[in-house]
Amino acid sequence: MREAAVAGVGYTGFSRASGRPVLDLAAEAAIAACEDAGLPVREVDGIASHMVGSDSENAQALATALALPGLRVVLDLNQAGHAPCNLLAHAAAAVSAGLAEHIVIFRALNGRSGPKVGSARFPGRGGQFRYPIGYDAYPMYIAMWARRHLHETGQDVRDLAAVAVAHRAYAVRNERAVRRTPLDLDGYFASPLVADPFRVADCTPEVDGACALLVTGLDRARDLRRPPARIAAAAYRAGPRPGLDIGDHVLTDDYTRNFTDLLRDELFGRAGVTPADVDVACLYDCFTSAVLMSLEGLGLCERGAAGDLVRSGRLPVNPHGGLLGEGYLHGMNTLAEAVLQVQGRSGDRQAARHDVAVVTSGALMDGSAAVLTTDR
């Protein structure tokens, strides 16, 4: 089976108000990813995207904007932040199966100046029980899980604080980050409460921008400009009764374990590595608690020890400052950072060892994850 790799990444700047149509942002990031890899844009024959409702442009539109001569794979996932590693899984499978040669996966949105997903009302049948009572924003749902998770694992808000502080320290060194003011514990606890236990400092800032990755065959990537980031494994997983929409979680029994608990063994097994092999973790952090839950779910630490792991600094977690620092590109930028880390291109935030990176997309009952490795 032909192996797949990420050959390049592309970004627009992240801002509060891009002043540009989303399709322009998407095209800029896609072209940047191809240029990064050294691949002529016209060779792209697959596009995969994700969105929330209608906050982005579909793959067909981007193909038109890029003047592509033809498309062999298109995929539009209406799956919010659960999607990036899932798109990567599908792109890798498509390349391996010969459905396409070069696939751009992207996320583009005016997430700050346009529709805000944090308070968006998602289509689906679960909303009628949440929205009319003021249980109507994503930070609330994740906060609901966070309180129970902290309680059952013997952690508390100081562990949320540890995530916010550590991520900000990374973000200070990342020129792309939108939150670069240093943050200490006092600053964290001075941050206003939004949905207790969450404060503003626990929540990712919504931004305008785009991010794209170029996925191709590992053999082809070796001939391109950048060292390949080999896609060792990628997987999506939902457990039973994942709900009627992306905010519906009352059918989930256990708020202390997220999807990473379900896919850990398969993901690392297929990648041929163990959690102990992970050099850098790029974990979806729409809110601080998701990092704690995913560190534990992936087996990167014992249950209840995630806050201690973050404080110890033993494992680089979100060296870009995470979505908390860099801004909410719904985790496509988290996947892109993992690529840069594996490629050894993250500058002064580069992890010293970077042979194996694990990435997650999603925070609660369902989501996706990937293992990227150097070409060894």
Binding site: R125, Y131, I133, L193, V194, D196, Y255
Partner: protein
Amino acid sequence: MLDTPTTAPGPPGAGTDDDSAPFWAALREERVELQRCTDCARLRFPPMGRCPWCASAGQVREDVDARGSVYSWIVVHRAFRPEFAADVPYVVATVDLDAGPRVAVRLDRPDGVDFGARVAPVFHDHGAWTELRMVLGA
């Protein structure tokens, strides 16, 4: 009552559907009515046409005692919609009903809320629809 289509039982604009209409209509009468699967016998919420445990379409509806225990809760300090701005801070709890299903509801008089706290239903009349809330102490 359910046969009277002019009476919209649920919250306006909330996307009520054929499966949920009886639930909302029962709340108007200060009852909590849930579906029970006739194959695996589980009560379920939210209302839907098939059982999410066994996929059976067989169901009956029955009144349940909506007392329960708090599983988790949040305190909303920032309203995300103007209609809730006057309510902050307010508490939303996930409550495990003694009857089985979990619901997410506003908690009235929430002082002293804790994991496992006992709660009982109260029915909050909004005029056009009735909201299921809970109060501590049951």
